[in-house]
């Protein structure tokens, strides 16, 4: 492969963003195919360890997206996600993880065009940042060292 094609994973909730992305399809709005969606019932279900796991397994960028504030199908799951995200962001930034690689957004079931926009801007940004090899290397080297110490 000559040009760098970012691998971007999207963690989305079933009720707003997943449906919004369906609407993007129904409206035939094109966006970058680098993004692959994993469906969750609610952003509240998203374990942020999954984000680290994704980076460790070669993801270059991540999108987390759910319902707008107050619109959560489960009343308050997105608030918990938001709260967790704020803590997580600070902590990860402090630990040296490139937070430019994560997009946190709200996309409703009626915002098909917005989903395409979120994806395209994220992919363009990750393309500029280049592959996120440093994290993967760091994690994998650490494991190797542990093994050799035994």
């Amino acid at each position: 492969m000559s040009e760098f094609e970012p691998k971007v994973v999207a963690f989305v909730c079933n009720w707003c963003t997943y449906a919004g992305a369906d609407l993007t399809g129904t409206s035939r709005i094109r966006y970058a195919s680098n993004v692959k969606i994993i469906r969750f019932p609610c952003t509240g279900r998203i374990d942020f360890m999954l984000l680290l796991k994704s980076f460790a397994n070669g993801a270059d960028g991540i999108i987390v997206s759910g319902c707008h504030p107050n619109d959560c199908h489960y009343t308050s799951g997105n608030f918990h996600a938001k709260r967790r995200w704020i803590m997580f962001k600070e902590l990860m930034d402090f630990m040296g993880i490139d937070m430019n690689r994560i997009t946190f957004s709200w996309v409703s079931a009626a915002e098909g065009a917005r989903w395409a926009e979120v994806v395209n801007t994220t992919v363009a940004r990750i393309r500029e940042l280049g592959p996120y090899v440093s994290y993967k290397q760091m994690v994998n080297t650490a494991v190797e060292e542990e093994v050799t110490n035994d």
Binding site: A21, I29, D71, C72, S76, A110
Partner: protein, 667 residues
């Protein structure tokens, strides 16, 4: 060992035009544990489903991945097919190759690779899916209808006539909605109130309908078949059981200069009032914001004159909780008001009015008893101009959509005017005439040919006053954009239909989706126009988008049938995608430490405490336990649990991590 079947659908050409379906099936077929893999033109068709069923039996499959459209579309179809072939329906997953891949990407290798990745990911997931049994829940056979306009009335009557109980909640003092304000209706020109009021009375008298006017929905809990709704019955300051509706209080009330909402501000009403003569219920309420007693602490004229002593100044609001099984939202629409049109002088010039105000002027029960008179000086306007698409179809103003009803009611307004002022001149500025509907086009032709209404194709740029006349400046695009100037006595703006005020808050309270214009969103634009994304909640009428009366009534009946179908069952089966706490044997060694952080985040109070006791009753450990009836499966508790003791069926930690690993790693 897992034996997975993969079924790749072409969806005619919808998927195969950009994704190489055959290659997807072939590549995935080589994966470990994939026992069968094929592609087919239409998986959802009868032969397609038969293909799946036969493959399940023939290859003894332990899980299937149907790679087709969105699971939001056909997951139930394929799960049912799997169940018919003897496979637990929850061992069927769907990869979304259409909405999330073929429809949004170009035809190239990357798109096909993405499709393969999506399928692969779900193959890995389905391997560790567990067979789940649906949960059975009872159905409370009472419906709630929110909004007492024509849509709400129709829905309530239809549901009530199937023999089920209905609670109808209306926030204003009377049911009737916008339809009760209209003078005549297109295309028949029959009197709106004459056809509506019998329905209103029927609602009030129906043994299966409980009517709460001057009431609002405050909150909603629960799920399909088992909702608990909180209704605030605002105080009417009146004992309705004693009040006879004689109306003496309304004539004696000293506060008489309150703009009348029903007359769209063209008339006045007292502080204790019945919105209009045919109101249902026909009993007054006190508007506490304007009542002298509530402002200054004295007056009480109404209490003095009331022959039955029904006035209750200290009556509090009442909040009631009711159990219901289904909801029909019929909260209707509103129209754009004054400040939106500074260029048309709306709100500045008294004789520039909106469509609803014109309805009141033309109505026999209106402030002018049906005479078309200028609001400024009470004179008969000799020259009247109607402006269609005032705000609608104007992306620059933020409203790109067509309000649908304005073309027709503008034609009707012009006709009504001509029927009342024979020598008058009526002109209509329009963008296009949209008159699709039974007898609609004929109606517009009648306005043009029989009533000589002057249709000018073009938009109005500005309206200003000169010597007591309104100067309407526009263009005639059929004359090549030639400027047109009309000196008018009165201008009627067909302002855009918009979501009713409070629609957004209500949507949030009910947890249903709404669009960027705050109209309620349907579950599918074509095939589920009556359902919302929330099971058990349905839509009727103009709360979804501007609609005329026949459309609203049809949809209301449609919603009623959906409710009746739901109520025809004694038990509902619910998807068992609920949380569970990992259990060990013996349970004492459970990893749950009983911190109950999960309890604090659960929106449904579905987490209970379970005690482990010794034989003599001493509690030795307390752990969390899920109430499956209450849990809705959001999974917020799962992400929060520090000891990873709680998990969610269908989206377990194991499944989600497996998906991530599969998606990102080479195969």
């Amino acid at each position: 060992m897992a034996r997975i079947g993969v079924f790749v659908c072409h969806c005619g050409e919808n998927i195969s035009a950009t994704v190489d379906c055959h290659k997807v099936a072939e590549t995935v077929g080589k994966l470990k544990h994939v026992a069968f893999s094929t592609d087919y033109k239409y998986m959802c068709s009868d032969p397609g489903q038969t293909l799946i069923k036969e493959a399940i039996k023939e290859h003894n499959l332990t899980g299937i991945v149907v790679s087709a459209c969105s699971p939001r579309m056909h997951e139930p179809t394929f799960r049912k097919a799997a169940a018919e072939a003897g496979l637990n329906p929850f061992l069927c997953e769907m990869a979304n190759l259409r909405e999330h891949c073929s429809w949004v990407h170009e035809k190239n290798d990357m798109t096909t690779d993405k499709a393969i990745d999506l399928v692969r990911t779900l193959v890995e997931k389905v391997k560790i899916n567990s067979a789940l049994q649906p949960i059975k829940v009872p159905v409370t056979k009472t419906a709630l209808v929110i909004g007492g306009g024509i849509a709400g009335i129709q829905s309530a009557l239809d549901i009530a006539n199937t023999g089920h109980k209905v609670i109808l909640v209306e926030r204003s003092p009377s049911i009737g909605g916008h339809m009760s304000q209209l003078s005549e209706t297109f295309p028949t020109l029959d009197c709106s109130q004459c056809i509506l009021t019998p329905r209103m009375v029927e609602v009030a008298q129906h043994p299966n309908i409980t009517l709460y006017t001057y009431a609002e929905v405050e909150g909603l809990d629960g799920f399909i078949g088992n909702f608990t709704v909180k209704i605030r019955k605002k105080s009417k300051s009146l004992d309705e059981k004693i009040c006879t509706g004689c109306g003496l209080c309304t004539t004696k009330c000293p506060q008489k200069k309150i703009p009348n909402e029903f007359e769209e501000g063209l008339g006045f009403r007292p502080a204790i009032y019945v919105p209009f003569p045919q109101a249902v219920p026909n009993k007054p309420v006190i508007d506490r914001e304007h009542c002298t007693y509530y402002i200054k602490g004295k007056c009480k004229v109404c209490e003095v004159v009331c022959p039955t002593k029904a006035i209750r100044f200290d009556q509090p609001d009442e909040v009631i909780e009711v159990q219901i099984g289904a909801i029909v939202i019929a909260t209707g629409f509103d129209i754009k008001r004054a400040d939106f049109f500074p260029e048309y002088g709306f709100g500045k010039y008294k004789d520039v009015i909106d469509g609803l105000q014109f309805e009141r002027l033309a109505s026999a029960s209106g402030p002018t008893s049906g005479a078309i008179l200028r609001p400024s000086d009470g004179q008969v306007p000799k020259n009247i101009v109607f402006v269609a698409c005032a705000g609608s179809r104007d992306p620059a103003k933020g409203i790109a959509y067509c309000s649908k009803i304005c073309c027709m009611y503008t034609a009707k307004h012009a006709m009504l005017y001509k029927h009342k002022v024979h020598e008058g001149k009526a002109s209509i500025f329009y963008m296009d005439i949209r008159s699709a509907g039974k007898n609609y086009e004929e109606f517009v032709r009648r306005a043009i040919e029989e009533d000589y209404v002057n249709y000018i194709r073009g938009r109005v740029s500005t309206i200003y006053e000169r010597d007591g006349k309104l100067i309407v400046k526009g263009v005639d695009t059929l004359l090549g954009g030639q400027p047109v100037e009309i000196v008018a006595d009165m201008v009627v703006l067909a302002t855009a239909g918009v979501a009713n005020h409070g629609a957004e808050e209500l949507a949030q309270r009910l947890h249903v989706s709404y669009d960027s214009h705050k109209f309620f969103a349907e579950a599918h634009p074509k095939l589920k126009p009556v359902e919302t994304n929330t099971a058990g909640i349905f839509l009727a009428g103009a709360c979804q988008n501007p609609k005329d009366i026949p459309d609203s009534v049809s949809q209301a009946s449609g919603a009623a049938v959906k409710v009746a179908a739901l109520f025809s069952q004694n038990e509902l089966t619910r998807e068992p995608l609920v949380a569970f706490v990992n259990r060990t044997a013996p349970p004492l060694y459970s990893t749950c430490v009983g911190c109950f952080l999960c309890q604090s985040v659960c929106p449904y109070q579905a987490i209970e405490r379970e005690d482990f006791k010794t034989r003599d009753g001493k509690i030795i450990k307390t752990v969390a336990k899920i109430n499956e009836g209450l849990c809705q499966g959001c999974g917020t508790c799962v992400a929060l649990c520090r000891s990873k003791s709680i998990d969610l069926h269908g989206y377990t930690n194991n499944q989600m991590y497996t998906e991530v690993m599969a998606l990102l790693n080479e195969y």
